[in-house]
Assembly symmetry: D2
Homo-oligomer: 261 residues x 4
């Protein structure tokens, strides 16, 4: 595992991707992104102005500097492959970079992604030259099919979006990681720094966080906390995590109690 995160032809130092929903204001969002140290920021295309008359992200770009961050448009709200593809094309036509976080979730209660539509859209968009980062259930076979189709990452969920419940799909994510030929980014459900750290310690390449930061009492402080947790876990992986034992191991020899005492 190299020190940097390579997605498609780009390299990143940060292992933390950030979402932009639910912030109380654009100013708070901007400061939280800054504190997070992230280099990839995802924005819902539905919020952008895609009429072609104006700069689609004109307003948002006042708060997200495209020179500093890779702006990753996402298709959140799309119910079908067709809708997602249309959104991605409109964004590209409007001059955005051809990167897309593919999110197709017809289910309004749990916002879980549709495997069929996601694969269908990925096939089309990869062929059209997009760099595709699909949000998926923690399904190892689907993850494999997507990377075989040419997606730039796979992004399995830890738990439903916004639930803050952590890595409930741990066993499945471990299989995905063991079979991955592209970076694995755990996306959704990460509600605390320990969850983000756990994902990276398992071997994930990065995590995407949104609600836990945006809905925190102090989003900027929380962004800083996630930054540190992600750096911590990544450094721990590189430093060599110890194995788990089923018994204790003394920190000092126990055979000889201090006789001189």
């Amino acid at each position: 595992m190299s020190g940097t995160l390579k997605i498609a032809d780009r390299e990143f130092n940060s292992r933390l991707l950030m979402g932009t929903g639910k912030f109380s204001s654009n100013e708070v969002m901007r400061d939280a992104l800054d504190a997070s140290g992230c280099e990839i920021v995802t924005v819902a295309l539905r919020r952008a102005d895609l009429t072609g008359k104006n700069d689609p992200f004109a307003n948002i770009l006042e708060f997200i500097d495209p020179k500093r961050y890779l702006l990753l448009p996402n298709t959140s709200g799309a119910n079908t492959a067709e809708e997602a593809i249309r959104l991605a094309r409109l964004a590209a036509a409007a001059g955005l970079p051809k990167w897309v976080k593919l999110e197709i979730h017809p289910d309004p209660h749990y916002l879980l992604p549709d495997p069929i539509e996601t694969l269908k859209a990925a096939e089309v968009l990869v062929k059209e030259g997009f760099t595709v980062l699909p949000y998926i259930n923690a399904d190892p076979v689907l993850a494999k099919r997507l990377q075989d189709v040419g997606t730039a990452t796979v992004m399995p969920l830890g738990a439903p979006i916004g639930s803050n419940r952590g890595i409930e799909t741990r066993a499945q994510i471990e299989i995905i990681i063991s079979q991955a030929t592209v970076p694995v980014v755990v996306d959704a459900g990460i509600g605390a720094p320990s969850h983000a750290a756990e994902a990276l310690e398992l071997g994930a390449d990065a995590v995407l966080v949104n609600t836990a930061v945006a809905a925190a009492g102090d989003p900027v402080a929380m962004a800083r906390a996630f930054r540190k947790a992600v750096e911590a876990a990544r450094e721990a992986v590189e430093a060599g995590l110890p194995t788990q034992l089923d018994h204790a191991e003394a920190t000092s020899p126990l055979s000889t109690f201090l006789k001189s005492a």
Copy 2:
């Protein structure tokens, strides 16, 4: 929860306590302590020279600066209250500060602490003016009795010493925290930055780490990782962790799909 950790009459900024066993060399230990940012370092009394002829920690003190760190002697290896008390008294007689991490574990396989002997020793040592930090099983009734007796902290275990298995006693530790009138320090079992973060997110005041750092491929890098994870979790608690939901919550309104598209 105030920003600093107050134990007895002392205040600390770091929430990470470090042990000193199992390092490959004193030099590595010294550098790892430095990288960890810790302010409290525990050392086994059995390793010290307590004959009274020499400075008991002469050799170790070449590597642990007592002006920088609070040196916390521990009674590791003691099988009974009597042995632990004797060790603590010898240390005080030799001029060490009257702080003691009480560890009484007769069991050689899991190194689990003895509740009866620990309470007995705590009662005696508190009366003799020691500041007592007892290592215990995650037993809420025992924790309460110890704080009632006047110990300065309670230190429940997450998992057996050196096992690196994390917070296996989560439900019990939550009860201990809910009843605590002194700082709760999770001690033993913490094998990865995510484990340390989880303990603090649960509401523990601090964690003690040893094996995971000392036995890492790169102990200094691992110490830095734990430092960051502990800071991350602490900052997250202060920033206000979000609640967990049993459903998803959209990061952006879902009712209206982009009609203009």
Copy 3:
């Protein structure tokens, strides 16, 4: 939840489905099926003689009485929708009932099911009049799509086939159950009676077990054990499981200690 399990137009009293792989002999299998109390038995079509010259399950039927058990052919070993469909059609042409347990798992290491191929085959087979029971990852969106297509059940996995690791996908299965309009049968990973009971207590309608029985020291005794565990959990659900509390609740009033003593 009615007392019986209704799949398509058939009703069953038992909530335990059995697989037939890995038994040391057909005789042991027969006796284990008998002891399990099951009414549905799945058999791999690949093992049957589908040449059309002979009764396809001639040999197996000496050990599985079709008057007692519903014989549920499965497509285990199929890598694609096409292969699975072909197997199902051959079975029907050979005179078997038009029920099929759809298993499409291209992955040889974890035997995890392919969501895309499974939906594709389900659509075709449902249209052709088959009663389709698909084996799937614990993916709530896929489960919903399959029931919308007209499958007779959904069969999410608890853990990889033959792993005996229990219900690792608990959170996802809870969502599947909450959205189900057809019976939910937990299939794969169930390695102990407690796992089977847990699935039913969560609200699953039935479980399918194979390896844990076939690979047991005493398969007949183990089949009996699973039968009892499944009956136990089902009866507990009907008797009204109590809610979980975050505190204790005394079994007798605690306010008055026996004063007369």
Copy 4:
């Protein structure tokens, strides 16, 4: 592990012990005990008439046949060793058998047992010839000390009394079992048949259930469910539970897809 459960000098076929608190009526209790198949029934001494003027369990014995069940008096409500000892002696003086389930829980919120007072009382009562079954936190060192003192069992808790949360102390109970020289009975927290089965599959010798049955919608049906779950798990242990694998294992050979098809 032999087929029967031996406690002190008595042998039992059932692995399920029942408590008698919280039932809506004595008649319901009687029928639930009958359905449970239990052979040991625990009753709070505080409820008995210990004045010496009347048969202490006169009323209760109308509902619990002492020829059928071993009546196990418990000291629930005692806050100290002294109170527990006094209760046990009064019971013996009143002619009850010298068996006692030792419960000392000063904490009114979680009803967790006190390790110090429990060991103290156990020492006294064992010396006086009582058969002592102590209720304890899942503390392996305490369990070992108790069995060394001569208690007839150890009874670690799975979760707080009446919480129905299952085996939250799994890792600690595994250690207790590995060191046990007397039967291990998991007591408290067992809220569903799967929890009872899990305890026995881990290697516990028996379980004690009360709230989950008494507070069920239909206590008699629930008692029957627990009986079956306990029998199931016990039979599974004797039949040889399979090991857990980290990969899948096919139920039929996968190398050759049906060529004739």
